[in-house]
């Protein structure tokens, strides 16, 4: 009997070790087919289009940036991590000259070596119009991501210096947007970006082996990837553009794909019942009403702003969304490194009514406000029922909310033009969902006083010297812990001053077959496909 147990123990141990070994050595395990929401394969040349989804599937898969995002954890906030640069630091005197120490021994997929020359070549690709490799398509995507960059030069084969126009501690976040394409491959293909798009070459964990526009792209693991822990386990990764939500669900349910992005909320319950996995997590996204601060706007009164934030029943809204949201307690999602300690938003109708009464408005004599909302749109979740819910809440507190529903692109145009522009039709608030991944996109662009249209997208013309001073301090604080403290202070001011009507955060839902294992959904717009296997 003991002998039997012993044999079983040994057999179990051997089997277990074999399994662990298989996983550990990254032995190829299956094909993963993903249904994307994009209608085309994002640009493959290095600087992808299609926004966050493009960067997720065709940016950090085939390519690396000097600085990547740490996508290894689903619980802690996702920060920057060394990519093709192992270290970076700014000079002590002017705080304008950044030295990037490059990773040695990294090879592009075509076998050529990654060096400082390649970094300069890639920056020229986006910024230097007379460079032979300048590509207007990639420049349209990439140049606006690195506004701080002034000049750059090779110091030695593994050191590059990037200088900024003014001291700018956000440069590392900007550099994370710039994937590095292979100069040698471009040369080999007759200096043609069109040819390069067909057979691209980066340094990333995946090699793109074939793709058909609007239909599919196939990637295989780069076995020589420099970060051995991130060599993909799958045999193949297949991307299929499926812009229609119901088609994605049908493709998943019929087994044509193993994973879909953004299943429609009303399909989630039935997918769960059919044993599909629904994976969600917080990520840097918010769904807000951007408030106008132009002269005459009622939101110049802090009591009205606070009342609005107290009047919204965010948990009720979460129920409406089938639990697929995170009720806002601030401008950034709870748990964000920048959250700090503001007075968190809560639902308190009585206090909201009291504040409105102090400002001179009641349910009988309400404050009429006009709000621009979209009929649909990227990241906007379900704008019509959600806005109607918020409208009911605010009307209870002494507002009379009137909507003007715009087509998504028309709303973007109004947002860019600013609250004073006729395109904004005299509205005092605008419903928008924000990508808030780095300090500039999260805070600066919305509230820095000189970033009103056409220079930037401070739609509401918010202007406050104290905020400008804080933003400048964050931008010029180069020590990361100290910078974090300033960013927290900024967020506290956002929330305490009720600068926005903070409503909710999306949870980036994905539905996948029970055969998909190993996925860790980072709190990020981007994700790592390396640890995934299918069985």
């Amino acid at each position: 009997m003991y002998k039997g147990r012993f044999t079983r123990l040994i057999t179990g141990l051997i089997a277990g070790s074999a399994l662990a070994l298989t996983a550990g050595t990254g032995q190829a395990q299956g094909v993963l087919r993903i249904g994307m929401t994009a209608s085309d394969i994002p640009l493959t040349t290095g600087q992808p289009d299609n926004g966050g989804e493009g960067q997720r599937f065709l940016g950090y898969t085939v390519y690396d940036a000097l600085i990547n995002w740490d996508l290894s954890s689903s619980t802690k906030p996702s920060g920057l991590a060394p990519g093709l640069a192992t270290a970076w630091k700014v000079d002590d005197k002017e705080h304008k000259h950044w030295t990037f120490t490059l990773r040695k021994g990294v090879k592009f997929h075509d076998g050529s070596e990654f060096t400082a020359e390649a970094v300069v070549w890639n920056l020229d690709k986006l910024l230097k119009k007379d460079a032979p490799q300048f590509d207007s398509k990639q420049a349209a995507q990439g140049s606006s991501r690195i506004p701080a960059v002034a000049t750059y030069k090779v110091i030695d084969p593994y050191t590059v210096e990037i200088s900024t126009k003014e001291p700018d501690a956000f440069l590392p976040f900007q550099m994370a947007w710039i994937p590095m394409s292979s100069p040698a491959q471009w040369e080999k293909l007759g200096k043609s970006w069109e040819a390069f798009a067909k057979t691209p070459s980066g340094t990333g964990p995946w090699k793109l082996i074939s793709w058909t526009p609007r239909e599919r792209a196939e990637m295989v693991p780069n076995k020589e990837y420099w970060d051995k822990a991130r060599v993909p386990k799958l045999d193949k990764l297949v991307l299929i553009p499926l812009p229609e939500a119901n088609t994605r669900v049908a493709a998943l349910r019929s087994g044509q794909v193993d994973w879909i992005e953004a299943p429609p909320p009303d399909a989630v319950a039935s997918l769960k019942a059919a044993k599909f996995q629904i994976v969600t997590n917080a990520y840097p996204h918010n769904w807000v009403w951007h408030l106008s601060r132009v002269e005459g706007s009622p939101f110049n009164d802090i009591r009205v702003r606070r009342a609005a934030n107290l009047a919204v029943d965010r948990n009720g809204l979460n129920q409406l969304l089938g639990g697929l949201s995170i009720p806002a307690t601030g401008f950034v999602p709870p748990g964000s490194a920048w959250f700090g300690k503001p007075t968190e938003h809560k639902f308190d109708l009585a206090s909201a009514r009291k504040l409105m009464a102090e400002a001179g408005y009641t349910k009988a004599k309400p404050l009429t406000i006009k709000v621009l909302i979209p009929s649909s749109g990227s990241g906007m979740m379900q704008p019509l029922p959600m806005n109607e819910f918020v409208q009911q809440n605010l009307n209870e507190a002494g507002f009379k909310v009137e909507f003007e529903v715009l087509e998504w692109n028309a709303l973007i145009s109004a947002w860019r033009a600013g609250a004073k522009d006729p395109l904004s039709r005299g509205a005092v608030a605008l419903n928008y969902s924000y990508f808030i991944q780095d300090p500039f996109t999260a805070f600066t662009r919305h509230v820095q006083s000189d970033l009103t249209s056409p220079k930037g997208t401070n739609w509401g013309y918010y202007k406050e010297p104290a905020m400008d001073a804080l933003l400048l301090k964050a931008k010029t604080t180069f020590e990361s812990d100290a910078q974090l403290k300033v960013l927290q202070e900024i967020h506290e001011k956002f929330v305490n001053d009720a600068l926005f009507l903070d409503i909710t955060h999306d949870v980036n839902p994905r539905a996948m077959s029970p055969k998909v294992h190993g996925f860790v959904q980072a709190k990020n717009w981007f994700q790592d496909f390396s640890p995934i296997f299918v069985k």
Binding site: S39, S136, Q141, T212, P213, R253, I412, P454
Partner: protein, 316 residues
Amino acid sequence: MLLYLLRRVLYVIPIALAVSAVCFSLVFLAPGDPLSAVIPPDATAELITKLKADYGFDQPVPVQFGRWIGRALHGDLGTSIATGRPVNAEIARAIVNTFMLAMCACGIGFFFGLLFGIVAGYFHGRWLDKLMTSIAVTGVSVPHYWLGMVLVIVFSVLLDWLPAMGAGESGSEAWIWDWDHIKYLVLPAVTLSFIPMGIVTRTVRAIVAEILNQEFVQALYAKGLTATGVFRHVVKNAAPTTLAVMGIQLGYLLGGSILVETVFAWPGTGFLLNTAIFQRDLPLLQGTILFLALFFVLLNLIVDVAQGLFDPRIKR
């Protein structure tokens, strides 16, 4: 005949010009920026003004139209803003897929449409006529996209017999006519065939019933012609109208169905148009609409000529 043909061809020129002007200007009525396809969503108004100048979108619309039509006359429909690929190549790739789908849908739709129509016409007023008419009415009334989704739920999700979307395991470029690929075509083709089936049934039924009531048919029977002989005469008399209707239906299907192709992610012209609309990809949108509109004009021309061949009265 030659004069008739020449007259018809000459009519095409003003029609084509008018169509291109409408195609070009229509897309400017849509809200939003023509550059939304390429700019990151958080780009500033300043950057967009600069890019507009780079792409020539800062010019007055008539100037832009002049340039566009000049290039189009040379067979160049420009480059897609979103993908940077030539519009001609994009359309060429899509049109092949739409053509395949349309021909299959027409094959199914016309076969059943003619069959049901003739049966209903011959059995006018009887229960068989009522059955065929109900099928036809259902065919023209059921929304395409709804039918597509129902077919997917039944045949892909529940029964797992046919794929729900796409044009083959390795994409449409690797298409071959074997069951592994044809099975991708079945559901979209059946979905798309319902409307032509319904319309052809109704048309044929009405004409056949009308012809059978005419005196010459009685005369043919009186002369002692067999039912088959009379049927041949009925077909010949019904052909011009039926052909015209089938031609128009074929045109509609070759134009690509945005709804059906989107539901099945079938990479044809409908899917292409849908993408172009959502990305505000003006050159792609204008090029595709123009190509399809001209194609439709051409198809009408062919139908007119074919009708003339069948019915000499039309040429006069």
